[in-house]
């Protein structure tokens, strides 16, 4: 392997966040193995050992706490619950298939009886499996995030460009930024049920309630970062723009946006993180069938498996949050040229 290809592979890996591969590639490329081994130890060895220690402590301490639902589940119990959730997912899929089969038979019988009857296809009515709930949560958070971005970026640009507009918006931003999703939710619920009245709704109300709550909470990091990014644009660039007598649109598209992009992305990353965090709380109360509702329902179940399942959800939420952040980081790396990340 030549040094150049090694560097290229390395760049790609760094971009998607797999930095601990770097020493391995360097070693393959024939660089000083001793130095690289130390690097590898630092990037991979120490985290693995730390995690193992965490697991050990967890399983020891979990034994000590006796709740009214039994002992706090240790790592093994949680793993077992994860497996049983996966098994349950497969069972649900089988039930779903059986449902469709029954439906097909019933429709066939209907058609045989009277060829002119209108047969309808219905989606499965059973409970959502754990995997379905994860998908619902992801859909909800992206919906909320998308709406937030559509509002936050333009407003942020205006704030950054015009000090007057900025001072007009500032009090609003400062007041609404720290509000908890749990405070927004009742208001959002009432507004949505008053305004969103259709006979054939595209979205469930509970979905909209959760998504809009996510929007209201995840709006702010993007907005603030965008305005800061736009405001801190290089004075020289602005002066060049003046000399060239660029019109407003060109100025925004060619100068302002590209130079503010790194900070906008930082804002988006923070927003998505906040959105994912508040989503769980919103789902619990809005009854949107995602991970939040899963946690709440399990808490209500109060069975001997409930705590284990909730722990599985905790890890799922954490890992997905981490992956979302990585995705945003990678996108940022691909789309911006700055070293400010």
């Amino acid at each position: 392997m030549t040094a150049i290809t090694a560097t290229r592979v390395n760049n790609v890996l760094t971009l998607i966040g797999l930095t601990w591969f770097t020493p391995v590639i360097r070693m393959i490329a024939g660089e000083n193995p001793r130095h690289e081994l130390v690097q590898l130890w630092r990037l991979l060895g120490i985290p693995v050992i730390a995690f193992t220690v965490f697991l050990g402590l967890w399983s020891q301490l979990a034994q000590q706490v006796e709740t009214s639902l039994g002992k706090i589940p240790g790592p093994v119990a949680v793993y077992e619950e994860a497996v049983s959730l996966w098994e349950d997912h497969k069972i649900q899929r089988e039930k779903q298939d059986a449902f469709y089969e029954r439906q097909e038979k019933r429709n066939a019988a209907k058609l045989a009886e009277d060829p002119n009857t209108e047969v309808k296809w219905r989606t499965y009515t059973g409970k959502p499996s754990y995997v379905d709930q994860i998908v619902t949560s992801l859909k909800t958070v992206f919906m909320g995030f998308l709406i937030a971005t559509l509002f936050a970026v333009p407003i942020g640009i205006l704030c950054g460009l015009s000090p007057v507009f900025n001072s007009a918006m500032n009090p609003l931003i400062q007041i609404f930024k720290p509000v908890s999703p749990l405070a927004w939710l009742p208001i959002v619920t009432m507004v949505v049920s008053a305004v969103y009245v259709t006979d054939d709704p595209v979205f469930e109300k509970s979905f909209l309630n959760s998504a809009i709550t996510v929007t209201l909470c995840s709006l702010w990091p993007t907005l603030i970062n965008t305005s800061v990014g736009v405001a801190s644009i290089d004075r020289d660039l602005v002066n060049v723009g003046r000399v060239l007598q660029l019109n407003w649109t060109t100025k925004v598209m060619k100068m302002v946006l590209p130079s503010a992009l790194p900070l906008i992305f930082t804002g988006l990353r923070l927003s998505l993180g906040v959105g994912w965090m508040v989503l769980i709380a919103a789902e619990m109360l809005a009854q949107n069938p995602g991970l939040g509702k899963f946690v709440w329902d399990e808490f209500q179940n109060g069975s001997s498996h409930s705590l284990g399942k909730i722990m599985v959800a905790v890890f799922t939420i954490g890992i997905i949050g981490f992956l979302l952040d990585r995705v945003m980081q990678t996108l940022q790396g691909l789309l911006t040229f700055s070293d400010k990340r």
Binding site: D88, T125, K205, M284, W296, D297, Q300, G302, S303, K309
Partner: protein
């Protein structure tokens, strides 16, 4: 213009006549082959709270009774009774497992105002009152024993000294119930008041329900009851199963009395839908009532032979989700009071026998009398008012129509339904304090209680006037 209008009216008349003919045909025997229902709305979402008495819904789904009627139902657990009711009213849910007081409360405008009706009563009994270990230890000293075991039913008279002790120490005696218009609230109040403990009044301006109270009652969602008591926020609660048995299993409290002992065979949950829904989708309403009746029949069939299977279904995480043993304890004919003190209670959960699913108007009147007794209905009302509201909310007409169809289809026996009742049960006497209830005379009934509002009494500030 006039002519088309006349024509329209004429056609409507014919249609109406035909409908009447069909209707009476269906009720008076009619053709043996009942016409198949075509539900107007086939995809439905029903809500429930994680309690064992949601069983008819789970069974109607799992046994395919909904699908038999051409209904495609999704069942969804709800966070609490308030969320559930609001979601039925604003149409996010098509119907739900409700507290008997919810349709009545909503219709008379206590809490959220909306016209909610019920064509199906879901079960009898099924609740218990549990106190914390500490309170039980203090109470037990006063309870008479026989063969080393407390004599049942345990009256609140024995709790009275404990409440007095707390009061003297300056600690408010707090208890939990699940909703202001819940059966549990009225049962707990009934039990406390029968033992001379004042559970407090509601008034027009103060809806905390703690005016003049010896015991302060507040709302906690059923599944959180054991945890709230364990945390020391409340000293006891009244709730449905499995949350009393849960307390025994976790060793955090002792159930002292069941509602079966407070009022034998009392009506518990109902299936609630909005009036608008029943008018817009009459066939769907009939179809879902049919499916629920069949589920209730299955639950009580062959001397409760199916209960074990039912418990297995309920223990799934999407329904009640508690452990099998906990649910089985009360669903299979026994009830564990103090740990190890397991007694037979075959009628603790009744789903079908004793005409349990028929929505009796007198049941509605009883709940209305209790709302009046504690001031949720702030002013006195004439007897006619009670009967009118009961008729508005409880709909035995829909129930009997659905039952008739099932009999015609050969899925139910004629003897299973009370065809000739006028909706009022014969006067009932089996209450813990022995006070008789005649649904036809609500005001006379209210006169009989030493604690409670009567006639035109009104609570103003912290005083009862009139």
């Amino acid at each position: 213009m006039t002519r088309t209008n006349d024509n329209k009216r004429y056609i409507l008349k014919i249609l109406a006549a035909a409908a009447v003919a069909l209707g009476t045909g269906a009720l008076t025997g009619g053709p043996a082959q009942a016409a198949k229902l075509t539900p107007e709305k086939e995809e439905l979402k029903f809500g429930f709270i994680k309690l064992t008495d949601m069983a008819p819904l789970a069974i109607a789904y799992e046994k395919g009774y909904f699908e038999d009627e051409g209904l495609f139902v999704t069942l969804e657990p709800q966070a609490n009774w308030k969320v559930l009711l609001d979601r039925v009213i604003d149409g996010q849910l098509d119907g739900a497992h409700m507290l008997a007081g919810q349709p009545l409360g909503a219709t008379i405008g206590f809490g959220t105002q909306a016209h909610v009706i019920t064509p199906f009563s879901m079960d009898l009994n099924g609740n218990g009152i549990t106190v914390s270990n500490e309170v039980w230890a203090k109470m037990k000293k006063h309870i008479p024993h026989k063969d080393g075991k407390p004599v049942h039913p345990i009256k609140a008279d024995y709790l009275k000294p404990v409440v007095a002790e707390y009061k003297a120490a300056g600690k408010p005696f707090k208890m939990g119930m699940v909703f202001p218009v819940s059966t549990h609230n009225y049962e707990l109040r009934y039990w406390l008041a029968a033992g001379g403990i004042h559970p407090g009044y509601y008034s027009k301006t103060d809806i905390s329900g703690q005016i003049k109270a010896d015991a302060l009652l507040s709302v906690t969602p059923p599944p959180q009851m054991p945890a709230t008591m364990e945390a020391g926020t409340i000293f006891g609660y009244c709730v449905g199963e499995p949350w009393n048995q849960q307390a025994v299993f976790k060793g955090i409290g002792v159930p002292v009395v069941t509602d079966y002992e407070i009022w034998k065979d009392n009506p518990e949950k109902v299936f609630g839908i909005t009036k608008a829904f029943s008018e817009k989708y009459p066939n769907t309403t009939l179809a879902l009532t049919k499916a629920l009746i069949r589920a209730a029949m299955w639950l009580d069939a062959n001397g409760d032979a199916n209960r074990k299977e039912a418990v297995k279904i309920l223990a799934k995480s999407e329904y009640v989700g508690a452990d099998y043993e906990v649910i089985a304890n009360s669903m299979t004919g026994t009830f564990e009071y103090e740990k190890g003190d397991k007694r037979p209670l075959p009628d603790f959960n009744v789903f079908f026998r004793y005409f349990a699913t028929y929505p009796y108007l007198s049941d509605a009147v009883w709940y209305l009398t209790q709302m009046r007794r504690w001031g949720q209905i702030p002013e006195g009302k004439p007897d006619t008012w009670y009967h009118a509201i009961a008729k508005k909310v409880y709909r035995p007409d829909i129930y009997l129509k659905a039952a008739k169809m099932l009999v015609d289809e050969g899925k139910a026996a004629k003897a299973d339904f009370p065809w000739d009742t006028d909706g009022y049960r014969a006067p009932q006497t089996e209450f813990i304090d022995g006070v008789a209830f005649d649904g036809r005379k609500p005001n006379e009934y209210l006169e009989k209680f030493p604690i409670g509002l009567k006639q035109n009494q009104v609570v103003v500030g912290a005083e009862v006037q009139g």
